[in-house]
């Protein structure tokens, strides 16, 4: 069995490791369903269209140099690479069939630098980025 506690997901955006600021992350792999129903069909028919995945991530807003806010601001308006790994190690994260590496290009088209939260909360951002490439799945390689 290779189940894992969801408390150590790794995320790099534009090669910058933002893992320690994540409070929630979801990579949703999906593709368009293109209707191909023709005469004579008794049910709708669909075939695979273009991939249309998304990466949703909640982050604590850290304004320190090269951290969350600076990195996202520098990437704002561009498509940069996101690396995601289910279980991240402090260094040399082993990538394997039970801990694969996902690589995808994401369009940084929304930011909430003055984040959500009230007086009793740390400021945070809840962001959903559209993927502008297919999601590459690899059982070897390196994360950090």
């Amino acid at each position: 069995m290779a189940i894992y506690l969801d408390n150590n997901v790794g995320l790099k955006i534009a090669t910058v490791d933002l893992s320690e600021y994540i409070t929630s992350i979801t990579l949703t792999q999906t593709f368009d369903e293109v209707e191909t129903t023709v005469m004579g069909a008794t049910a709708h028919q669909f075939s695979k269209g273009l991939e249309s995945s998304t990466l949703a991530v909640d982050l604590l807003n850290d304004w320190a140099a090269s951290k969350v806010c600076a990195t996202l601001q520098a990437a704002y308006g561009t498509s940069v690479t996101a690396l995601i790994v289910p279980v991240r190690a402090a260094s040399a994260t082993p990538i394997s069939a039970t801990n694969p590496l996902y690589t995808v290009s994401i369009l940084i088209n929304n930011l909430t630098p003055v984040g959500t939260g009230g007086p009793a909360d740390y400021a945070s951002s809840s962001l959903t980025f559209t993927c502008t490439s297919t999601v590459a799945y690899a059982t070897s390689g390196s994360f950090n």
């Binding site: 690479t81 590496l101 690589t103 690899a138 390689g141 950090n144």
Partner: protein, 31 residues
């Protein structure tokens, strides 16, 4: 998929960071 991309390097440049030598291997690279 090349990594880091030009856009990634541009972000690093803005942050004043050097490009890392870590590169993920994709299925395509392995073929």
């Amino acid at each position: 998929m090349p990594y880091p991309t030009e856009a990634d390097l541009e972000v690093l440049k803005k942050l004043g960071l050097a490009a890392p030598d870590v590169k993920p291997t994709t299925k395509k690279d392995e073929e």
